[in-house]
Symmetry: C2
Subunit: 430 residues, 2 copies
């Protein structure tokens, strides 16, 4: 059997510990699969004494994770520290410069610094692998870079944040509101004390930037992703969605349009019978619309120690087997600088909910504004009479532009008979 | 840019032509992705003059595909001739012996001769790739061999034949019977004139043998797969399935049990809310139950020119990039000869439909037989009274063994009050 692959693990949170556990538990199986042992030579974390689900006694302890970058005792550095900058970024930069392979689960770092790090890896002829950074255990990075690499991709979209999907699923099933379900998710450990990373769409946007880079051969550009979270999704909108044949999901969507690369994360109404609508709870799902292969659906656990460790170790196995591929599927020099398509140019259909005074002529006013912006109505629900009082009006539009819809909603919101700011949720045609 | 990868294509049916079309249409994109051009140097098929959707004028014509094996003008042979033996097998053997890489979509050949061919490839240090042989465009071979390679797999199952799934979906949606829907599928080109390969489960069994080899590190053993097709599935069973919360799917299922490797293809009742139940029409779906990553669901087009060509070309791209992996995920010497678990040892739940004379005491007779075989009833539907006439009794069992159920059904079928052979459909717990 060939020389062992020597791995240093930086960061011993739940994922780091799960990686150690997996490598130890499946040691023989993995060695048989790749023809050589995978050996952990050193570990590092903030607090050596912290209670952990695995013993770190068998491994050499290193006080400063950054020193693993130049440590001659390892071939690969597993960066599981986290954070877009700081220690993680310094460690990865130094390790790549030292010619070491790097495996990371750090979506934030790659979504921002991915192109720079890919160039570093390429210059040193080494590997920067990040299967665990997108959709946890789902091997979607490999699928895009290799398995579907024969195809042009028209659109890629997915449910990329399990916490948000859990909250939306619970809201739909129980009829409770966002704040109540979030509080419960926090008690159950499905949401962080500060949930904004998840529920405001930032985590999903990091992942979308990476998916888009792989699917469209561009540099990852987190700053070019339009992001809107799920805090404003109300039980009444979930109920109307069901009535209209939709479910509300926090989707990340990327596609090339005549205006450039559109990247957006926001709540979407998707047809209830679409595969992505069936991805519920903490699961993630990704759909790649391939020119030749057709739509490809991937579903699985998008977070958690086990699935993330599965992806980290898959990258280690690739490295052990000698697989060497460009970080984002093509050499850095061939990555395209896609022009970001402004969100105002987005074309799509829209769901609008208005609280209006129930009196004759209100609908005519609203319809006139929409007509002025060349927006045509596809469906309208106006139910329950309550003369002189507030009643909801719900409508869906045919395809229009974000610019037209934004302008129309500003005018509609200013109408005297419209009592609350209009609520808008984009509809995704699948 | 590096030297081109020189490819010879043997077999110019719909898939062969789609491969030529894809390589030509995406020539620059593919070259950018792998850093070198993919060049078709020669083609071969039975009939040069046949009308085809692509021109074969640009390629050197070779009369006998087998001569491509030793042709110094190519590095890779694409075997798209088909058939478990004959020309395809001879071509692949000779090409591998000559040290050439081989890409094939030939599930029948690999399910039977896979271990021998893998040994040949390994002995010559070359590649035998077969992404297109299982589930068409879905990159499931790569997912099992690489993306999920950190995991032990508990069970793998899937809808592996689009024709059968189309027929079952149509039957469910329209209430029509098998023969009627099959005839329509034949008219529409979704089923062959001789449909037995698809509807009798043979094609799915070929694919299952390959999935099981990858998932459990064994030699593919088509002869060890239990196979039962969908001809006996009746509209009334589909209706009862719906009532009980199930859909009927032709599944291939493989798992390691205490009795060995269980491999089976047969109609299954699966919970309607399970992801695999939502895979409808000509789509394929595969679920790998991974120890660490959890259940992973893959869904996409499992047949057709475009999806199959996508998978063939993905294998070519891997070869162009220099990826060299063991054919079934581990070196041939490390492949396990799993003992086939006899179907009689299968444990599961069962759906039974009986046509009985409607008179007192019939149910007591049936219940007594089941009790004798230690089979307990989970649910029972006995509806519509018609004294002295034939009425259906439907029941589902708790978990039992295939041996017990087979014995019980033989006795039940022999009861005077049971008017037709019992119908049995296995229930898969997901």
């Amino acid at each position: 059997m060939a020389e062992p692959l020597r791995v240093a693990v930086a960061g011993l949170g739940t994922v780091g510990c799960a990686v150690l556990d997996l490598l130890e538990r499946n040691r023989e199986l993995l060695a048989r699969r790749v023809g050589r042992p995978i050996l952990v030579t050193a570990v590092s974390a903030r607090d050596r004494a912290k209670a952990r689900p695995v013993s770190i006694e068998p491994y050499r302890w290193v006080e400063d994770p950054r020193s693993l970058a130049e440590d001659p005792e390892n071939d690969v550095v597993c960066e599981l520290v986290g954070g877009a900058d700081g220690v993680a970024l310094e460690l990865v930069r130094r390790a790549l410069r030292a010619g070491k392979a790097v495996v990371t689960a750090n979506k934030a770092m790659l979504a921002v610094h991915g192109a720079e790090l890919a160039a570093l890896a390429e210059a040193r002829g080494t590997v920067l692998a990040f299967e665990a950074a997108v959709a946890g255990g789902i091997p979607i990075v490999k699928a895009l870079r290799e398995g579907l690499a024969a195809n042009r991709i028209g659109r890629i979209y997915g449910i990329l944040n399990g916490t948000s999907n859990y909250i939306l699923t619970q809201m739909r099933e129980s009829g409770r509101d966002f704040a109540t379900v979030l509080a419960e998710a926090q008690r159950l450990g499905y949401a962080e004390a500060d949930p904004s990373f998840d529920v405001d769409g930032i985590d999903a946007a990091h992942k979308l930037a990476l998916l888009a880079a792989l699917a469209f051969g561009g540099r990852p550009r987190f700053d070019a992703v339009f992001v809107e979270g799920i805090r404003h999704v109300a039980p009444i909108d979930i109920a109307y969605a069901a009535e209209l044949g939709y479910r509300i999901k926090l989707l990340g969507v990327a596609r090339l349009t005549e205006h450039g690369l559109e990247q957006r994360v926001h709540p979407c109404m998707v047809p209830v019978e679409a595969p992505i609508a069936q991805v519920e709870g903490v699961f993630n799902g990704v759909v790649a619309e391939c020119e030749d292969a057709g739509p490809m659906v991937f579903e699985g656990r998008g977070a958690g120690a086990g699935p993330t460790a599965s992806a980290v170790v898959a990258d280690l196995l690739d490295i052990a087997r000698g697989t060497r591929l460009p970080v984002f599927g093509v050499p850095v020099a061939a990555l395209v600088d896609h022009r970001p398509a402004p969100m105002s140019t987005h074309r799509g259909s829209y769901y609008i909910r208005l609280m209006v005074v129930d009196r004759p002529g209100v609908l005519a006013e609203i319809a006139a504004v929409l007509r002025d912006h060349e927006i045509s109505i596809e469906a309208l629900i106006q139910r329950g009479r309550n003369p002189g009082q507030a009643v909801p009006i719900v409508l869906t539009s045919h395809e229009t532009t974000e610019a037209a819809m934004t302008a129309a909603l500003a005018r509609i919101g200013a109408l005297a008979s419209v009592l609350e700011p209009p609520r808008m949720i984009r509809i995704e045609r699948l």
